[in-house]
């Protein structure tokens, strides 16, 4: 029984949300014209001079552009790899644990860092890795001189990726754990009867059983290849580590909102948005084709 008479009411229900969405998601999209103008705050969008691709040409000529692109890709890809592998390994290990009570406690504790903000965690990390913090205290026991961890460009990407994996690995295991419960227990028994050791069972029963979840998560993560984690890096970086830690989003923030070069920042932002859009669309299409994943 389909009722067509309710459509008017449905549109009314949609109205507040659509207005909110239009104002804060769709209207800003039109602002990308600023990337093609020499934006002057005094003249506004409608009257600023049109300069076409000038901003983009200038952007590509900057030394900064290569640095931020490389940094973004390096950090993002390392994060993607780390956030796929570590949760998987942890889920496999947790799956082998037979003490249900302990298993639940460990899960509870391990999900926690995901819910803390990067502001809080940055405060804690900067303290722990500070010049007189516990890590350096431990190093001094081994007679290693104190290291200024967050001031060193060579260590910065490792710290960023490491702390992000630490924060998110617990929460990311949820999907793997759910997939693991879907494996038929009889398969394990059959393998054991055939003489498979524990390790062999994991290799030949467990892993193939969750391969679809692994593939799905890998494919979906492709869309994040330019998201190196603005909130985290913004709170942890400083001018000393710009050479390896400055990413697209932090550069756009400084260029646009601190140095007020609106057109240039919008141009870089537009570039990132377009590439991200392509990557996410491709990743969703691949997920749909190979893993039958649909959003709606």
């Amino acid at each position: 029984m389909i009722n067509k008479g309710f459509a008017k009411h449905y549109y009314l229900m949609l109205l507040p949300g659509m207005i909110w969405l239009t104002l804060f998601s769709i209207v800003p999209m039109f602002g990308i014209v600023m990337a093609f103008q020499d934006y002057n705050p005094g003249l506004g969008i409608l009257h600023s001079e049109w300069v076409g691709l000038e901003n983009f040409k200038y952007m590509f000529s900057l030394n900064d552009s290569v640095t931020i692109l490389v940094n973004t890709l390096v950090i993002a890809v390392l994060k993607i790899v780390g956030n796929l592998i570590i949760p998987l390994v942890f889920a496999l290990l947790l799956n082998e644990l037979r003490l249900r009570y302990l298993k639940r406690w460990i899960q509870t504790i391990v999900y926690l860092p995901h819910f803390l903000s990067w502001v809080i965690l940055s405060g804690i990390l900067l303290d722990i890795f500070g010049y007189t913090g516990p890590v350096n205290q431990i190093l001094s026991v081994f007679h290693i001189k104190p290291v200024l961890f967050f001031g060193r460009a060579d260590l910065f990407p490792a710290l960023i990726v490491g702390s992000d994996v630490w924060k998110e690995f617990g929460f990311n295991t949820i999907i793997y754990l759910a997939a693991l419960t879907g494996i038929n227990p009889a398969l394990y028994e059959a393998a054991a009867i055939d003489g498979a050791t524990r390790f062999k069972r994991m290799l030949h029963v467990t892993l193939p059983g969750i391969v679809s979840a692994i593939v799905l998560l890998s494919v979906l993560s492709l869309g994040n290849v330019l998201n190196a984690g603005f909130e985290q890096i913004f709170n942890l970086y400083n001018p000393l580590v710009y050479s390896s830690g400055d990413i697209i989003d932090t550069w756009v923030y400084r260029t646009g909102l601190v140095n007020l070069q609106f057109s240039l920042a919008t141009a870089m932002g537009l570039l990132k948005s377009v590439v991200s859009f392509l990557m996410i669309t491709i990743s969703y299409y691949l997920a749909y084709r190979f893993a039958n994943y649909r959003i709606f």
Partner: protein, 294 residues
């Protein structure tokens, strides 16, 4: 579960427990350490003598914090933001998800609207156009900028849409037969059924609004309008990170009041730690409730 009785298997079991418990401790350790630092005296904390236990136990940093008006002002702003923001999200998510869960026959242009929603998840205009939009709406320095700033939580809407679509059609038909109109159907039948998924979505919204700092930094021009995370970010994180030379950073880290900072951080964590047990029950099942099942 298959039980091997080999020595190797039992050894692995023991090693497994050690490793997993070790990893779990690693997750708790930084939080515990912060608590220990906040309860120590400042001289010990600055010279790095605090390990897992407070050195020179005193509640001085918390006492000082109690008198800090700016901290509590920001705390209150964050609370307001969570109540307004999560409340608004709750209402709008339901109002949007219910009609969009119908088919295109019942709601003309449904597919167009769905694609618009999905598009806003995939593409955005960037930081600067967004900032200018909020500014031109006159919301700078206003709490509504924080509440409305990041637009509709489309992912949550889609979760609830899929949940509604998975409910049996008979439900709606039975209600129609009894003469229910669309509003009654939504409010009295569908919303109560959406309990778990809505709880999940609302809890995520609460955590998001509590933890969010960037909108507070960029959209509030006066420091006394900062939400808590932004206030902490400016007081605790910025001081540590924005210096130029290694020597200056070293000197700053010795001068800053580490116990007070640790106390601020710990208090900001408390709301999340408190609702966490309730969160846990919902988010694991809630995420799968909103998946496409047909």
């Amino acid at each position: 579960m298959v039980k091997d009785n080999t020595a190797g298997s039992r050894l692995f079991d023991i090693a497994l427990i050690v490793i997993l418990v070790g990893i779990a401790i690693l997750c708790i350790l930084p939080i515990w350490y912060t608590l220990a630092v906040s309860l120590s005296n400042n001289a010990a904390a600055s010279s790095g003598r605090v390990g897992l236990w407070p050195v020179g136990f005193n509640l001085g940093s918390y006492q000082e914090l109690m008198g800090d008006r700016k901290f509590f002002n920001s705390f209150w702003i964050s609370v307001q933001r969570v109540i307004l923001g999560s409340g608004l999200n709750f209402v709008v998510i339901l109002l949007m998800a219910y009609p969009l869960s119908k088919n295109a026959k019942e709601l003309p242009y449904r597919n167009v609207l769905m694609w618009i929603l999905v598009f806003t998840m995939l593409f955005n205009g960037g930081l600067i156009p967004w900032y200018m939009t909020v500014k031109s709406l006159g919301l700078i320095n206003n709490i509504w900028a924080l509440v409305l700033g990041n637009s509709v939580p489309v992912f949550s809407v889609i979760l609830v849409i899929n949940f509604f679509r998975n409910l049996p059609k008979e439900l709606e038909e039975a209600a129609l037969v009894d003469g229910a109109g669309p509003w009654r159907m939504m409010i009295q039948i569908f919303v109560p059924l959406a309990g778990p998924v809505i709880a999940t979505v609302t809890l995520f919204s609460i955590v998001y609004h509590w933890n969010e700092f960037f909108n507070g930094l960029v959209l509030m021009s006066a420091a006394d309008h900062y939400p808590l995370q932004t206030y902490i970010q400016q007081m605790v994180v910025v001081i540590d990170a924005n210096t130029m030379t290694a020597e200056q950073i070293q000197r700053m880290s010795e001068l800053s009041n580490r116990t007070l900072n640790a106390a601020k951080i710990f208090i900001a964590m408390i709301p999340v730690l408190v609702i966490y047990p309730f969160l846990q029950r919902f988010f694991i099942t809630g995420i799968t409730l909103g998946s496409v099942k047909e």
